[in-house]
């Protein structure tokens, strides 16, 4: 089982961890009393934890290798198998549907509010999944389109009194236009270079919002954004949250519906071809420019829609909601969930947004946990929590 070499390796790893964490785990400086406390006992705990973690890590790595050797090629994720099985498909979907329909009536408002946030991230994740997962364009400035949507609603409402329902399609269009505007200059870039430029673009939008005072009210933000109305009827606060919850559910369903169709269409296949091999894709008659721009535009559309919902839900927005960390969180949702896999992204969004909300006590360690999770997923499940599975077709043999 555990080889001598592994024990030796784990021993050195534990030793290294002791050295590494010495300044924070052992030394404690009290700046008021001017004393330095050495907590030597911690060395033992760090050593044991490091040793144990290393052994476990090695064990799982070996399991993975062995699994690869035995050659189980068709490891289709459980969820996909459930959905493909006619018998389970409908009850499974019904159960999920009932859960989400009943959710705001079972749980208190606080939980509904958190669920709205998570569902907005599902939309954002599915949108970014088009750009990153399907078309393979690493976009680190995705939050800019989220901001476009949120500010579109806030400003159009402030100046022209336009309602949520009017702004929704307008912001979708604005998002698509902005996506194309970003896409055009970066057509020739890919990989790291594209990531850097889009990162810059995201920051530009935020800095504009922060500094163009007369336009966006600067860092003070825009307050009193009205919640959506129901044919002119404005709900009181509690009902309003439930109402927004159902709007988001509808939007998420719409997103899933469209994204699913796009994925298995002419245009969706072109995105994947572009991701897999740019030259071969062009040699097969696919217009690279058009394909890239549609990916950027469609991805941005859903971000803008998410932004409108976000503004309506929080009723106050300022540029601080649209920092680079948002982009990274959405990217984490896509990568950890499973690039190119809609179900994976949904699962990723729910896990990555809901878990930290309920572990408020550990909020400070959120980025640490994200980082650790990224490493673990990349090592053990490089295709994400639920990997994408391509559509299969059935054929009848034509007898000649």
């Amino acid at each position: 089982m555990v080889t001598k070499k592994e024990i030796k390796q784990s021993f050195f790893i534990a030793l290294w961890f002791i050295v590494l964490t010495f300044p924070i785990m052992v030394i404690k400086i009290n700046t008021i009393k001017h004393t330095v406390l050495f907590r030597w006992g911690n060395i033992l705990w760090v050593g044991i934890a490091g040793f144990g973690a290393s052994l476990v890590w090695n064990y799982f790595l070996r399991m993975k290798e062995e699994k690869k050797k035995t050659g189980v090629k068709d490891d289709i994720p459980v969820v996909h198998r459930l959905l493909q099985n006619e018998k389970f498909r409908n009850p499974f979907l019904a159960a999920v549907g009932v859960f989400f329909l009943a959710y705001p009536f079972i749980f208190p408002m606080y939980h509904t509010s958190i669920m709205i946030t998570a569902l907005v991230y599902v939309m954002l994740g599915l949108g970014l999944n088009i750009v990153v997962g399907l078309a393979g364009l690493l976009d680190l400035g995705y939050v800019a389109f989220y901001a476009v949507g949120a500010y579109a609603y806030a400003l159009l409402n402030l100046h022209y009194g336009l309602s949520f329902w009017v702004v929704l399609p307008i912001s979708a269009m604005l998002g698509a236009i902005c996506g194309t505007m970003l896409g055009y200059p970066v057509l020739k870039l890919k990989g790291d270079y594209l990531a850097i430029v889009t990162l810059g673009f995201g920051e530009i939008i935020r800095i504009i919002l922060e500094n163009w005072d007369s336009f966006s009210n600067g860092p003070r933000g825009i307050p009193n954004i009205p919640a959506p109305s129901f044919f002119g009827y404005q709900f009181e606060q509690h009902a309003s949250v439930v109402y927004i919850y159902f709007i988001v559910i509808a939007l998420v369903l719409l997103t899933i519906f469209f994204v699913n169709r796009l994925e298995n269409s002419r245009i969706g296949r072109a995105w994947i071809a572009l991701r897999d091999d740019e030259i071969a894709c062009q040699a097969m008659g696919i217009d690279k420019v058009k394909t890239k721009l549609t990916a950027f535009a469609l991805g941005a559309t859903w971000a803008a829609l998410g932004g409108v919902v976000f503004a309506a839900k929080t009723s106050y927005i300022n540029p601080m909601s649209f920092t680079i960390w948002e982009s990274i969180t959405i990217l984490c949702v896509v990568v950890i969930g499973g690039m190119g896999s809609a179900i994976g992204v949904i699962a990723g969004a729910l896990v990555l947004i809901l878990v930290p909300e309920y572990l408020r006590a550990m909020a400070e360690y959120r980025m640490l946990v994200f980082g650790a999770l990224q490493v673990i997923v990349m090592v053990f499940k490089p295709e994400g929590l639920i990997k994408s599975v391509r559509k299969t077709y059935k054929f009848e043999k034509v007898k000649e």
Partner: protein
């Protein structure tokens, strides 16, 4: 009759390097033509020039598709060239790894389909029919090439020889009149090469295709080709039937070296 591909005085410069120097090559309809030459002679550069991956420095690339007027291809984008009916395969296999075999072929159908974003999302009946037709057309191509048993496999999981054939299937799906094959037999075993030989002849006879291929397997080239063009150091040094090329002294010199200079 006009040749379906007529390349005149094609020159390609990379900085100071002349990768192609005044190359003239014409391919007649229904012909299997071969482009041979030692490594680094400029064969793949030639393919890249006519398919729009490179823009040639000088010269003309003209096509005359069956039943259509003569057109110039210089400076057109790669995807437009493919749309005009020139399909190619690649020397090092370039399949779409994240897709199934069928989807790879369906990518080839892309430029013959019309549906856009809106119709993909709303899926009207015209789009459904088109999609259904694309699926069955692609499947028929796989049947012809003999890959139908792999239809739902991921392309990357296919055996090597099958991957090479899938490249040809994908190229066929673009409805070409001229097929450009870049070393289709590279890395194949004798059995696979023999099957490829049969496939290429079958394609010419039954699919109304003309074929231009780059190949190093001389046995294959000599048995297949109607006409062989030989390039060396970017210049065309010979052209003719397999028999003529075999006995051409310049060709022998290019492949085996020149005794007189060394002496």
């Amino acid at each position: 009759m006009e040749p379906i591909l007529n390349v005149k005085n094609l020159t390609m410069n990379f900085g100071g390097l002349k990768a192609l120097d005044n190359v003239n090559i014409a391919v007649e309809k229904g012909q299997i033509a071969a482009l041979i030459g030692p490594n680094g002679a400029g064969k793949t550069t030639f393919f890249n020039c006519i398919t729009g991956i490179y823009e040639p420095s000088e010269g003309h690339v003209e096509i005359t598709p069956p039943g259509k007027p003569t057109q110039r291809l210089n400076g057109l984008k790669t995807n437009i060239v493919a749309e005009k009916g020139l399909a190619r395969t690649f020397q090092n296999i370039r399949l779409f790894e994240g897709m199934t075999v069928l989807e790879n072929v369906m990518i080839g159908r892309h430029c013959r389909l019309k549906s856009g974003i809106i119709s993909a999302m709303l899926r009207p009946s015209a789009q459904k029919d088109e999609e259904q037709k694309a699926v069955s057309d692609s499947y028929r191509i796989l049947e012809k090439i003999g890959l139908d048993k792999y239809v739902n496999e991921m392309a990357v999981n296919l055996p090597y020889g099958a991957q090479r054939r899938l490249e040809i299937a994908r190229a066929l799906a673009t409805d070409p009149f001229l097929l450009l094959l870049d070393e289709p037999a590279a890395g194949m075993n004798p059995q696979e090469t023999k099957e490829l030989d049969e496939l290429i002849i079958w394609l010419r006879d039954n699919e109304d295709l003309s074929i231009l291929l780059i190949e190093h397997d001389m046995k294959l080239v000599m048995s297949l080709s109607d006409n062989i063009h030989v390039v060396d150091y970017g210049r065309k040094i010979a052209e003719g039937t397999p028999r003529e090329v075999k006995s051409n002294s310049d060709v022998i010199k290019a492949y085996l070296g020149d005794d007189s200079e060394d002496a």
